[in-house]
């Protein structure tokens, strides 16, 4: 891939919509953009068909700004709301079938390494809670157990949003949804615990109302997945439609849920810390200077 692919078809320069022209002229490719610069460049995802006030869309936008090399990133999605937005971003996207995203990403990641071993290409899975923890559970877990080097992001809206609001494995116990009219009978699945057990070298939980933190988490996860091992981010991205959160209260809800049961957490293996420090200059992970030897 190269920066060359976002260009005009000859003869169509003046007919292309403004959004496309902006992408060619002011896109983030080849630049180091950050979330704090939002609004000063054309994001790879801006236009999308998502609902007003959708926290998932904000998270996806932040994540895409945070990709270390968007022009060399391939996203993989599956059925669900998220893919409606992700598939419209100006970077390559692959959709196989519902729940097979970590299988698709395993093949992609291996193939890209075979073809372009000298240049990193980042594979990032962004799938919903149903795709990751229900129908795709086996493929997700096994990609981690096989130590596949790519990033898995769960867009956890705690519901089947795209089909209109049915309970998923990630729904909290007691939540009333369309296939659980008296409330869900089982606990929310502990995918963070399972990710650690299955061998992810970086695991984080995050909510979208802290853009700098989202950026930090995404960058680390993608960089670590290049060489060290599988990485997993679980993001609370509420469904304001199915959980009836007023549009202007979506961020407040995220804050409340974060305080209550979705606290920021980050696990980094020692090997991943060392890799970030040595390869990408993460000072906080440099080995601590040896304490002065005290004379006996």
């Amino acid at each position: 891939m190269s920066l060359d692919y976002v260009k005009f078809s000859p003869g169509f320069e003046k007919f292309m919509p403004k959004e496309y022209k902006d992408m060619v002229e002011h896109g983030p490719f080849g630049k180091k953009t950050t979330v704090s610069q939002m609004g000063s460049f054309k994001e790879i995802l801006e236009e999308h068909p998502m609902c007003a006030g959708c926290a998932m869309t904000l998270f996806i936008r932040l994540a895409m700004i945070s990709f270390p090399n968007p022009e060399d990133t391939i996203t993989v999605g599956t059925a669900g709301c998220g893919r409606l937005a992700i598939s419209q971003a100006a970077i390559p996207f692959v959709y196989g079938n519902y729940g097979d995203q970590n299988g698709v990403a395993s093949g992609l990641s291996r193939g890209l390494r075979l073809r372009f071993g000298d240049k990193p290409k980042d594979v990032v899975v962004m799938a919903g809670d149903g795709g990751t923890a229900d129908i795709g559970f086996a493929q997700t877990l096994h990609s981690w157990i096989r130590k596949e080097k790519f990033t898995t992001i769960m867009l956890d809206n705690e519901v089947y949003g795209n089909t209109g609001g049915q309970e998923s494995g990630m729904t909290s116990r007691g939540a009333v949804l369309k296939m659980a009219p008296l409330g869900k009978k089982f606990e929310k699945m502990d995918m963070v615990g399972m990710a650690k057990v299955a061998g992810c070298v970086y695991v984080a939980t995050v909510v979208p109302n802290n853009p700098r933190r989202v950026e930090s988490v995404i960058k680390k996860a993608v960089l670590i997945a290049r060489e060290v091992g599988p990485t997993y981010i679980q993001a609370y991205t509420s469904c304001n439609i199915e959980y009836a959160i007023p549009t202007d209260k979506v961020m407040e809800d995220a804050k409340n849920v974060e305080d209550d049961r979705y606290k920021f957490s980050e696990y980094i293996s020692d090997e991943a810390k060392q890799y970030l420090a040595e390869r990408y200059g993460y000072k906080e992970f440099l080995p601590k200077p040896a304490a002065a030897v005290t004379q006996a």
């Binding site: 078809s9 519902y98 129908i135 089909t163 049915q166 296939m179």
Partner: protein, 430 residues
């Protein structure tokens, strides 16, 4: 007491399961089916339906659980669509081989890739050789009625096979029509509770499902038994249809005859688009064309005799397939043609049309073109097709999209000539 009310195809399907007083509903959401299991979840939770409703983690698990529960002798219902049916695909064959009766409603939706939500029948027809019986319906009333009939047929000791009832996504699933909801007592008379003595995995009668049978002789025996059982379902269907008509006043046959009397040429269709076909037949009849429509309803088992009886002696027959088998053409055309090959007075011409893929509309002008081309083929004594129904306007729009995406003029003219390679290009103005 029977009541008449407006309901969508999906709600009619849920009512079918409710009136059948099913015991167990394993479920997983997929558009455009989800409303069915949502309605059942509500009724199970509020006690209107004394069934156990469980959300599974995928269609694969859902179908496996459905088959296993049916093997205990419970009456089981579930529903899916499209990719969900394909995800459950290996299970379909397995549980048909277990010879367990259950009813699966498939809400047809075209298959990926590319992805759409709208209907065609590549999903359900992919499962035509699985061993499931298949009933394809045209109206919301027929959805409800066919589910009740499907349980009777599937549970008949001469059949013992799972059954699929197919309705079109969007065109039927989300379309409200007046539906006569039968009286529960009358349904009980038609479909008594299911307590089969041969199922139940009792210790006193040990039984294994899905055992290995190497060498082929035992395997052939069991598979042929399935074939014979499926063929039995033809006669069983007619008995059940007679009972149903007596109790509820509505009669469903293996195939539906629409204005076939005196028809020179016959259009063969299935599912909800047959309503468009019937309207087109009415319009053509009003213009003096002697045409009729044959709607395929029971597709597995294949009612070859009934089809031959309806089509023999006609001048020409056109089969409009809402599916496409790449490299072959229309699936149902092949089956109709095979059935007619030994008919003593078979039609002079068989024409194959592909239309409604991904829910694409079929316009009046396209139907009129089909009738005109079929009549010509009948006079000529030579069939045509497969012809893709694709209007000039649709082609122009597609060419504009391709040009915007950077397709060269040379490539575009290749696209245009491909359009006509499969047969004479259909011209329709609308």
């Amino acid at each position: 007491m029977a009541t008449n009310e407006m309901m969508t195809g999906n709600l009619a399907a849920a009512w079918g399961a409710r009136l059948a007083e099913v015991d167990y509903v394993p479920a997983f959401p997929i558009t455009p089916q989800t409303e069915i299991v949502e309605a059942l979840a509500g009724w199970c939770d509020n006690g209107d339906l004394a069934a156990r409703f469980v959300t599974l983690d995928s269609e694969h698990s859902m179908m496996t659980a459905a088959g296993a529960a049916a093997a205990t002798g419970a009456r089981v219902f579930t529903a899916t669509s499209s990719q969900g049916l394909l995800y459950a695909f290996e299970v379909l064959y397995t549980i048909a081989g277990w010879r367990v009766p259950l009813v699966l409603v498939n809400v047809s939706r075209a298959l990926a890739s590319p992805i759409t939500l709208e209907p065609d029948h590549n999903d359900v027809l992919a499962a035509r050789d699985s061993g499931f019986l298949q009933i394809h319906v045209e109206t919301c009333q027929e959805v409800l009625d066919s589910i009740l009939m499907a349980y009777r047929i599937a549970e008949d000791p001469r059949v013992c096979l799972p059954a699929m009832v197919n309705l079109d996504g969007f065109y039927l699933s989300f379309t409200r029509e007046p539906v006569m909801r039968p009286d529960p007592e009358q349904v009980r008379a038609f479909l008594p509770p299911y307590r089969p003595p041969h199922l139940g995995l009792k210790a006193s009668a040990p039984q294994a499902l899905g055992v290995a049978v190497l060498g082929g002789a035992a395997y052939s025996y069991f598979r042929h038994q399935m074939h014979l059982a499926s063929v039995n379902a033809l006669a069983v269907h007619q008995e059940v249809a007679a009972d149903f008509a007596r109790l509820f006043g509505r009669r469903y046959d293996l195939i539906e005859d629409y204005r076939l009397e005196g028809a020179e040429d016959v259009l063969v269709m299935s599912n909800a688009f047959a309503s468009k076909g019937k309207a087109a037949v009415d319009a053509a009849r009003a213009r003096g064309r002697r045409v009729g429509l044959l709607r395929l309803r029971v597709i597995r088992p294949w009612p070859a005799e009934a089809i031959v009886a309806a089509l023999k002696g006609r001048r020409a027959v056109a089969v409009l397939d809402q599916n496409l088998a790449p490299g072959l053409g229309g699936i149902l055309f092949q089956e109709v043609a095979a059935s007619l090959s030994h008919a003593p007075t078979r039609p002079r011409a068989l024409c194959s049309y592909i239309g409604g893929l991904g829910g694409k509309n079929i316009s009046d002008a396209e139907f009129e073109s089909i009738f005109a081309q079929t009549a010509e083929a009948g006079v000529r004594g030579q069939g045509i097709g497969p012809v893709l129904l694709y209007t000039e306007e649709e082609r122009r729009e597609m060419e504009q999209l391709l040009a915007t995406a950077g397709t060269t003029n040379k490539e575009l003219s290749a696209f245009s000539s491909q359009q006509s390679a499969g047969g004479p290009k259909l011209k329709a103005d609308n």
